[in-house]
């Protein structure tokens, strides 16, 4: 496992404002908000909703598109497994902050599951924001020791003859699981396939089911 380094050298991560600065900024923003509300250019309801969306609801659609492409295009899948960062960039998804993406394919013999044991490193450009449980101490500690038990808690039963591999993320390496394409989806096209691929299956705690 590589060393965790969570300082992405982003000077904006920590607030080091003093109270006076904070108060002045708050007043400045409040003044603008009041003016815009008065002019009817924004509404309180819309503002609250937007805050919620951007803080909690950045969806994992990019990852689903990557997996769907891999399912329908064997050459793409090969490139994805060899160099996930470049293959994902082919689809136009960037925004990685120097981390490398690594894709792990689930097969009838191997089931992959991803964790970040030290904190919550997560491939956000492809999976959006991490779910709450991913960051929980219970998941981070238990999935390494008893992965099959944890998978059962997610309703995923992995047969004894299937090897379970647990991948520990770091600031440098982010994993994306390519779940198995379920039976009964032979007639679905790429974008229909993307619709059925849910976030948890790309973390490896669930399987994809046919619609």
């Amino acid at each position: 496992m590589t060393t965790h380094n969570h300082d992405h050298a982003n000077p904006y991560h920590e607030s080091d404002r003093d109270e006076a600065t904070n108060k002045a900024m708050a007043e400045r923003v409040d003044k603008m908000e009041a003016l815009l509300l008065e002019k009817g250019l924004v509404s309180q309801g819309a503002l609250d909703k937007l805050a919620d969306i951007y803080e909690n609801d950045l969806g994992p659609m990019n990852g689903a598109k990557v997996v769907a492409r891999a399912w329908v295009d064997p050459d793409f899948k090969k490139r994805l497994l060899e160099d996930a960062t470049s293959a994902i960039a082919e689809l136009g998804f960037g925004g990685l902050q120097g981390e490398h993406m690594v894709a792990k394919e689930n097969t009838s013999n191997v089931h992959n599951v991803v964790v970040c044991t030290l904190c919550s490193c997560y491939p956000w450009p492809v999976l959006g924001l991490p779910p709450g449980w991913y960051k929980s101490f219970a998941y981070r500690s238990k999935v390494v020791i008893e992965p099959r038990e944890v998978l059962k808690e997610f309703g995923t039963n992995v047969p004894d003859d299937v090897e379970v591999r647990v991948w520990d993320s770091s600031a440098e390496i982010r994993y994306l699981v390519i779940p198995e394409r379920p039976e009964g989806t032979e007639n679905l096209n790429e974008s229909e396939l993307a619709e059925i691929i849910e976030r948890d299956s790309m973390i490896g705690v669930t399987k994809v089911s046919a619609p």
Binding site: N22, P123, A194
Partner: protein, 95 residues
């Protein structure tokens, strides 16, 4: 993935100096006014008062100005630059 992704990618995935502050993938707001300034800008662009790229250009210039000769020690934070950009864009649009 049955839910629609509601966050606009042109906003959520801005890159370079304009990239939204995130920690392990999550948007980071340290103080309430940051959240408010953020949602005001997004809401106004959704209402069509300006295109997102217009705001993004203002933001990039404002951050560059704050960085001066030393990008590691900007004279003000990301959201101070954000608010300044929004004020300057609004002054142009509402003039």
């Amino acid at each position: 993935m049955k839910e629609e992704r509601k966050a606009k990618s042109e906003i959520a995935e801005m890159s370079g100096s304009a990239a939204l502050p995130r920690k392990s993938g999550e948007m980071v707001f340290h103080d309430d006014w940051e959240r408010k300034s953020f949602t005001l800008a997004v809401s106004l662009s959704e209402q069509g008062l300006f295109e997102w790229h217009e705001f993004q250009s203002e933001l990039i210039s404002a951050i560059k100005e704050a960085e001066g000769d030393d990008p590691n020690h900007p004279s003000r934070g990301y959201f101070e630059s954000w608010q300044a950009s929004l004020e300057s864009l609004l002054a142009k649009k509402l003039a």
